[in-house]
Structure formats: structure tokens, C-alpha cells
Amino acid sequence: MRRVAAVARNTFRESVRERVLYNLLFFAVIMTVSGLLLGELSIRQDAKIIKDLGLAAMDLFGTLIALFVGVGLVSKEIERRSLHPLLAKPLSRDEFLLGKFAGLGFTLLVNVGLMTGGLYATLLALRRGADPALLKAVFAIYLALLVTVALALLLSILTSTAVASVSTLCLVIAGRYSDVILNLGDVVPGMPAWALRAVMILIPNFRNFDLKDRVVYGDPVTFGDLGWITAYAAAYTGTVITLAVIAFRRRELT
């Protein structure tokens, strides 16, 4: 466990060194500008738009980081051949992989946490109240980011960096079209029900993690709802990480 934590710590430091958190600057600019301008432009819709904008930015920036940094987590170490000396130490491949996942997970947590702070600061500065329900949407976004990291890790182990980036992006996009997948039977009438079901299970349903609209409009999101979303994320991420561990064990390192 300590070794996993050490790899995670290093991954976080590396992310900071690689200026991954610079996206926070963009976020800060977006929040400040929107806070200053929206009151005039939107006919008192500023609070709603700031919430929409803040949550969408967390979702978008977070997904991009999870995807592109996630894909490079292991493959970069292999390409730079920096993995060999690491594995020569008392560190198993499983621990290395889990540490990498945890490290990026923590980077994303810091990223999302700071963005949440920025969002609340903007709302408070405009005297629009700090609605705690927003945290529920933020939590769901974070879970979606962990799923994305897991997918990026698995695919980067199975294929090249470029193919992994494209295929992870495709899966993330497909997962946001779960309603279309659900209605695939209408578009392709000959498609057997089991095949449709298989597609639905294989592709992560990112719609599950989209609570933005509900929290912004004050719809109830119970802890039961959050519990099931967490359980889905845990099951999906756990499966993908397990597959990644198996694939990484079998991967030949040249």
C-alpha cells in the first residue's frame, strides 16, 4: 500500500510539474469574466449561467485531463524506458498501475476541488448564495473522471498512445449518447436485443453522472441516487482497472 501511495504521490507531482493544473487559470478567467458580465447580459439569469458554466467547465476540463494525461500515464513511462528501473525496485506492476491511477485521481480531485472553490467564490461575490447541492453534481463529475482515467489506462496498455487517445475519446462520447444507444433497436431493427444489451453494458453510461441540470434547477438528488451512481462507477472502474492490471501483467516491455 505504501508503494502504491509513493507512485501516486510522484504521479501527482509530475502532473503539477507538467502544468496540468494550468487549466485552473482558464477556469478562473471564465468565472471572473462571467461574473462581471452576465448580470448585464442575461436578464438576471447570471446565477444559473454561472452554475452551468462552472459545472460544464469542470466536466470538460476534467475529461480532457483524465483522457490525455491518463493515456500517457503508463505508455510514456514505457516509451521513455523509465519504467524498467522502477520495476527493478521492490515494486510490482500491479502496484505501479494502481499508484498511477490513484495519482491522477488525486490530481483530478485537487483540480475539481479548486474549481468548486472558484465556482462558490464567484456565486458568493455576486451574492447569489452558495448552494450546497452543487456538490452533488461535482461529486458525480468526479466519478465520471475516474471512469475516464480507468478507460484511458486500459486502452493505453492495449494499444498505442494515439489509438488509445482516439478510442477513449470515442468511448467517452458514446457514453454520453446512452439514450441513442438505448434506442438503437429502432434505427437498426434487425439488431438482437442481447447485442443491444451488451453494447449498453460495455459502453460506460456517462449520462448517469450528469446531475448538472438537476442541481441547478433544485431538483432533489437523494443520497440513495448518489449511492447507486457511486456503486456503478465503482463497479465499472473496478472492472476496467482489473482488466488493465491483467493486461499490464502480460504486456511485454521492450
Binding site: 448585464e40 436578464i43 439569469q45 444559473k48 470538460l60 454520453r176 441513442v180
Partner: protein, 280 residues
């Protein structure tokens, strides 16, 4: 060198805007996409896209300005439709869209039926919102002159939890005294009190028009009295002062009333911001 080139960017942009128009991108987006297409393109970001279209709508049709300056009102309905398709719960988009669809040019598109359809869509999507139903009733009364239906809808609005008690009174008033100026004043006062931004400004203009019509009634009575007393019509409205008339001879915006000595009638001047073709 870099500074020179950087300074050239806004300058060239200004030249392009001058040649092609500032709002060209908006039209392109409008004619390429429907709300459903935008929804399909941005899964998970529908609300944000709705906000973008809402801001475009307000930016183009004016946040605080009431009068159209080279505005194309044919863009209003598609913009609002895209907004509410992406975010069916954005109440303000229905109210704003309906207001400027219903008003006659230069304040709006002059399409009250489309405005009522938009409000009906809003009422379907937000069945527990009394304000939208109230607006639907008021629009039926004021723009479609259907007092019966207006009264019925206002009563429905009154039954929604949280609705103010005045809706029941207003429903009865609309039905019993439909068409009179005092009822119209009540209607626009309600919209003014609840309105925001341009909708509030629009209601303020209607209230000023009603005041102008009251003032015109007094002026025209004074003209008749002057004619009865002197045997001739006044050459100008200022002459009414000689007979003791103390009321205003200008509308609430300060523009003097137009006066036609041949007919002996004062009317709103065409250069007044309150003038509308249907106001007689």
C-alpha cells in the same frame, strides 16, 4: 513587430465586420442548426448551450433597449426555440420570446399567434409555473382579443399553488370589462411589477401609452370645448391654454401631440417613441 501585428488583429476584424456585418455568425448558426441538432452535438452540455443561445438572443434583441434598430425579428423565434429545446425549463426565455414576438414593429415581430404558441409550450413544460400561465392568459386578452379564453386561463393560473389572489379578480375583470383601458392598465401593471429587463421596459411603454391615450381624450375634449366657445378650431394646441385647459399637450415621453386642424383631432405624433400603428 509582434505588437504591430497584434494591433492589426482588432483593426482587420473591424474592417471585416464593417463589410460583412457584426451578426453574421449568428445567422449561420441559426440556419444550420435546430435545437435537437445542437442537443445531439453537445450531450451533457445542453444547459450550457441553452445559456449560449439565450445570451445570443438577449445580445441581439437587446437587454435594456426596447426599440429595434435594424433588428431581424425573424431570427427571434428560432433563437428562442433552440434555447427552450435545449433547456425546456428556462422560464425567462418563454416570457421574453413571447413579449417580443407579440409586439408590433419596431418593438417586436408582430406575431401574437406565435407568441401564444411559445407560451403554450412553456406551460406544457412548466405546468406548475403560474407566471407563464398568467402571461398566456394576458396575451390571449391583449393581443388576440379573446377575453373568454383569457379569463379561463387566468383562473387556471390562480389555482396553481403559490399564485397570487389578484389573478381571480383579474380573470373576472377581463371577462366583464374586456377591452376597456383600465383593464389593459391592470394587465400591463401586473407585467411591469413582475417583469425584468426589457419585458419590464416594454410594459412601462404600454403604461405610458395608456396614459398618453387618457391625456389625448382630455385634449380632444378641450378642442371641442374651444370650438363650441369660439366657433373656430384652435390653430395650435397651445391655444387651448387660453381657455383654461391645464392638462398636458405632450405625451409622457415629452413629444408634443400631433394636431390636425382640418379634423380637429389630436393624436400621438409619429416621431413619438410611444406611437404605434394600431393606436388611434
Amino acid at each position: 513587430m509582434a505588437l504591430l501585428l497584434a494591433a492589426a488583429v482588432p483593426w482587420t476584424q473591424g474592417r471585416i465586420d464593417a463589410r460583412l456585418g457584426t451578426h453574421r455568425a449568428q445567422e449561420e448558426v441559426l440556419y444550420l442548426w435546430s435545437g435537437d441538432q445542437v442537443r445531439r452535438l453537445a450531450p451533457g452540455f445542453e444547459d450550457l448551450m441553452a445559456d449560449v443561445y439565450w445570451l445570443r438572443t438577449v445580445q441581439y434583441f437587446g437587454g435594456q433597449r426596447v426599440y429595434a434598430v435594424n433588428k431581424r425579428f425573424d431570427l427571434l423565434l428560432p433563437l428562442v426555440n433552440i434555447t427552450v429545446t435545449l433547456d425546456p425549463r428556462m422560464q425567462i426565455a418563454y416570457r421574453y420570446g413571447a413579449t417580443f414576438l407579440a409586439e408590433t414593429y419596431p418593438m417586436g415581430a408582430g406575431e401574437p399567434e406565435a407568441a401564444v404558441k411559445l407560451l403554450e409550450r412553456g406551460v406544457r413544460n412548466l405546468p406548475h409555473d403560474w407566471r407563464l400561465r398568467q402571461d398566456l392568459g394576458l396575451f390571449h386578452y391583449y393581443f388576440l382579443s379573446d377575453a373568454q379564453r383569457a379569463s379561463q386561463i387566468l383562473l387556471e393560473a390562480a389555482e396553481i399553488p403559490g399564485a397570487p389572489p389578484f389573478l381571480t379578480t383579474l380573470a373576472a375583470q377581463v371577462l366583464m370589462r374586456g377591452g376597456d383601458r383600465e383593464t389593459s392598465r391592470q394587465v400591463w401593471r401586473r407585467i411591469f411589477e413582475q417583469g425584468e429587463g426589457p419585458m419590464r421596459n416594454n410594459a412601462a411603454v404600454h403604461l405610458a401609452q395608456l396614459d398618453a391615450l387618457d391625456a389625448l381624450d382630455n385634449v380632444n375634449e378641450a378642442i371641442l370645448a374651444y370650438e363650441r366657445r369660439t366657433g373656430v378650431r384652435p390653430a395650435a394646441l397651445d391655444e387651448l391654454r387660453r381657455t383654461g385647459y391645464r392638462g398636458p399637450v405632450a405625451d409622457p415621453s415629452g413629444v408634443p401631440f400631433a394636431y390636425d386642424r382640418a379634423t380637429g383631432r389630436a393624436t400621438l405624433a409619429r416621431n413619438s417613441p410611444l406611437w404605434r400603428p394600431q393606436l388611434k
